[in-house]
């Protein structure tokens, strides 16, 4: 698996976005991936044995040559996956409509947490109706204030793929995005468990993106989650996000761990080895103090959640000068 971020342009301003800013906190300038680099990226996927081309942004459908990119992907026989905020421009929408349902998936990041209703609902509805089963709805959860049941209504109403993909808002190191605090995980786990049961009644499956951990869920709930639970705790590993400038990063939240330039000798295996080595150099670090003595961790069933969230617990050598200079009396 590897993601190709073909543009940094975006028509949304999601609070949880970890791609909008660099590790220094500055907003990323708008940059589009030139088509030759897209070609090189597809070559990379080919020699890595990857069968899907996963297009990211910003909003990938804003790339000025989005149609050409789609053609390149389809012509080379890759499955096309597009991560989108849903506000797809008309030319891009028309293009996607031409791709067979079996060859494309639009992962539509739907309802912003807590707002209950997405921005520009009319346009989102149109995109969903026109693309139908090409669309998989997803949510990035950055607070416990999640409203999920309406997703099921949208799936029924627009004939979307009968799967919901749930992601967690992770902290981008150095950036000030909105993210879900690990201490809020149990409340989210409780609400998601209820949603999974509801979704199952409506014949909709639920998939979990990276960073979900078993201890988020109430006792006994893991059995409820079914096959979706198989991946819990195991998913924090290098994703490989290729930026428009031709550099690979481990993933956006861990952009500060370094990068490696795309070149003809690079494949996914050695890119992952590079980032895995960088990740291992951070040392053992887990989401919270309670990870010490955790049974799942001890059995190797949990890798400790999102590394980016775990790294926030690290302390550095900043002295607390106020403490050091406090007058101390008595001996």
């Amino acid at each position: 698996m590897a993601n190709i971020s073909i543009t940094t342009a975006c028509n949304r301003d999601c609070a949880f976005c970890f791609a909008a800013r660099t590790e220094n906190g500055a907003r990323r300038p708008v940059r589009h991936m030139p088509l030759p680099r897209v070609e090189a990226a597809l070559d990379f996927l080919g020699r890595s044995g990857v069968s899907e081309a996963r297009l990211l942004g910003g909003e990938p459908t804003l790339h000025p040559d989005f149609g050409r990119v789609v053609d390149m992907v389809v012509a080379r026989g890759f499955g096309l996956v597009v991560f989108s905020g849903g506000l797809v421009p008309e030319p891009a929408l028309k293009k996607l409509e031409t791709v067979p349902v079996s060859a494309v998936s639009l992962l539509l990041n739907a309802v912003p947490s807590g707002l209950g209703r997405p921005l520009e609902p009319a346009r989102l509805e149109e995109v969903c109706r026109r693309l139908g089963p090409r669309v998989t709805l997803g949510v990035t959860i950055d607070s416990p204030a999640i409203q999920l049941p309406s997703l099921l209504d949208a799936i029924d109403r627009c004939g979307l793929r009968r799967t919901v993909r749930l992601g967690l808002g992770h902290p981008a190191i150095g950036a000030a995005n909105s993210y879900l605090r690990p201490r809020q995980y149990p409340e989210v786990g409780r609400r998601v468990t209820q949603f999974v049961l509801l979704a199952r009644e409506r014949d909709v499956s639920v998939e979990f993106d990276c960073g979900w951990v078993p201890c988020m869920f109430p006792d006994g709930a893991l059995a409820t989650l079914g096959h979706g639970a198989d991946s819990l705790g195991s998913r924090c590993s290098p994703v490989l996000d290729l930026l428009p400038d031709g550099r690979f990063i481990s993933c956006y939240p861990l952009a500060s761990l370094g990068s490696i330039v795309l070149h003809p000798g690079l494949d996914a295996r050695n890119a992952r080895e590079y980032f895995q080595d960088r990740r291992e150099k951070t040392g053992p670090c887990f989401l919270g103090p309670d990870c010490d003595g955790c049974g799942w961790r001890a059995r190797g069933e949990c890798g400790g959640g999102c590394l980016s969230a775990a790294l926030l617990r690290r302390r550095t050598g900043r002295l607390s000068v106020a403490v050091a200079r406090r007058v101390v009396r008595g001996c």
Partner: protein, 102 residues
């Protein structure tokens, strides 16, 4: 003549700061009952007690005299024993590259 009060051995600490600092690239993480030092190259050292408390006080800028004074009740040590424990810990961390002299 009234006896002069002996100066406290720690009198100089009124403006004392720690003579040590954490080496560049070194981080640590506080666990439930232990503390793990990460050297930035993947190596980790877990500290139990009382060393974990020594690390906490040293890295918060207390002088060794004050660290010893605070460790004594934490670890039920008399002052000389507390000073020995603190010094041994700090010497070990300097040797391991976790601390360096400021």
């Amino acid at each position: 003549m009234a006896a002069r009060r002996r100066a406290s051995p720690c009198a100089e600490r009124e403006s004392a700061v720690s003579p040590y600092r954490v080496a560049p690239g070194v981080h640590w993480v506080v666990g439930r009952t232990a503390l793990t030092i990460l050297d930035g190259n993947g190596a980790a050292k877990t500290l139990g007690y009382p060393e974990a408390a020594v690390w906490d006080f040293v890295t918060r800028g207390y002088s060794l005299c004050d660290v010893s004074r605070l460790i004594a009740p934490v670890a039920s040590l008399d002052p000389p024993a507390a000073r020995q424990v603190v010094q041994a810990a700090v010497d070990g961390w300097i040797a391991s590259g976790f601390l360096e002299r400021a």
